[in-house]
């Protein structure tokens, strides 16, 4: 946020709560937990060498991000997305992102555009590595920079509260994205950057709608429509 006088990034002091939240988030994205798995507070606390206090506070945060659910005296579980959930993510995200890109078209600075561009070049590099995980991360990162370019704190918060869900829903089905990512991601995102740079609100809205429709059309079908159906045999 504020760099020191010497341009040195002064160590941002933050509590264990945030560290733990990031740790758990990272673990979830890395696939260290199964979908629906129970998160044991003492396990996490011991593994991160912290007490349970910060862990609990972190879980409250993650609940707000929608990637864990909590019930009274029943602890936290990783969410399990149904097709309905993904459809909700798609529709809400479209609404937010159309708004975001229209705002960005008006108030994006050169710096903002640069950052979007940097993500694009990072994508090109990642394409060679064929790492789906890295690519998805960059995908989300690009949209981060788009939202940031809108310069709208509360819009950013709204995005933050579904961001982790978006990331998780993509990661879970990452293997179905191979061809898509190889063929179209970079082009589509470059289009987004261009319409923003061109300051054309209408083109912006069209580009976002197409981009998200294309992404989610294939994604939704990968999730089960009823989560009542169950249940693979118990793994214990």
């Amino acid at each position: 946020m504020r760099d020191g006088v010497l341009g040195i990034q002064q160590p941002r002091r933050r509590g264990l709560t945030d560290e733990v939240a990031e740790g758990i988030r990272h673990a979830i994205f890395d696939g260290s937990f199964e979908m629906g798995e129970h998160l044991n507070e003492v396990d996490i606390a011991e593994r991160l060498e912290v007490s349970r206090g910060p862990v609990r506070e972190a879980l409250v945060q993650l609940r707000q991000e929608g990637i864990v659910t909590m019930k009274w005296h029943r602890g936290a579980h990783i969410v399990q997305f149904s097709a309905k959930d993904v459809r909700e993510l798609a529709s809400l995200r479209t609404v937010l992102e159309v708004f975001a890109i229209r705002e960005a078209a008006v108030s994006a600075t050169e710096t903002d555009l640069d950052q979007m561009n940097q993500v694009l070049t990072a994508m090109s590099r990642a394409l060679a590595d064929e790492s789906d995980h890295a690519m998805i991360q960059l995908d989300v990162q690009f949209h981060d920079s788009l939202y940031r370019a809108a310069h709208h704190d509360r819009l950013w918060n709204a995005w933050s509260s579904i961001r982790s869900q978006v990331m998780l829903s993509l990661l879970v089905k990452r293997h179905t994205f191979n061809e898509y990512y190889r063929d179209r991601v970079i082009a589509e995102h470059r289009d987004l950057l261009q319409v923003v740079a061109a300051r054309d609100p209408e083109a912006c809205e069209r580009a976002v709608r197409e981009h998200l429709a294309a992404t989610y059309e294939r994604l939704v079908s990968r999730f089960r429509s009823t989560d009542e159906e169950t249940a693979e045999s118990t793994d214990r």
Copy 2:
């Protein structure tokens, strides 16, 4: 949610965290705290007769709701809205609520419409009492029922994360709303209900845009703008 077999409303068990969060929220809305005031954890804990643990967890929740800010080792403060904040609330809320009412127009049930109607009648009663506080509460409550009619969990969460801010920004300037509330609230909200009931998406969108524009046009001017904002702002 699920009533017992005997129709007995089983007491919804919830932790102290939620109770405390609601307590603090209530206190803030009641004006028990000044804007920007520091929230002392031990004071709150003692006053509510709980330990600091639940209080801290509750504050994390309230931070997510945007009505308190927290900094490392500096605790929690009530937010202070600037004109920019209120403008952000207005624009984001418009985006969300347009989406909400269009969804509601499609998927609202009779029960949903009934609940909206109930709030309307409660408003009529409150109008006589001339209690601004009660009226604002009902105003927000009406919009609650609108969002609920959309049957979209993530949209509801997005609304929840600005709801408290909306409520607070209205309450802080409640004295400027006398005439408006007396004259137009009920009519405008009844319009909203009618267009939803008519299942007319376009009329819905128009009604919401007008309603919110009217509300925020007068509200924004009541908040003072920050220095930097006036310095670099370009009107549009």
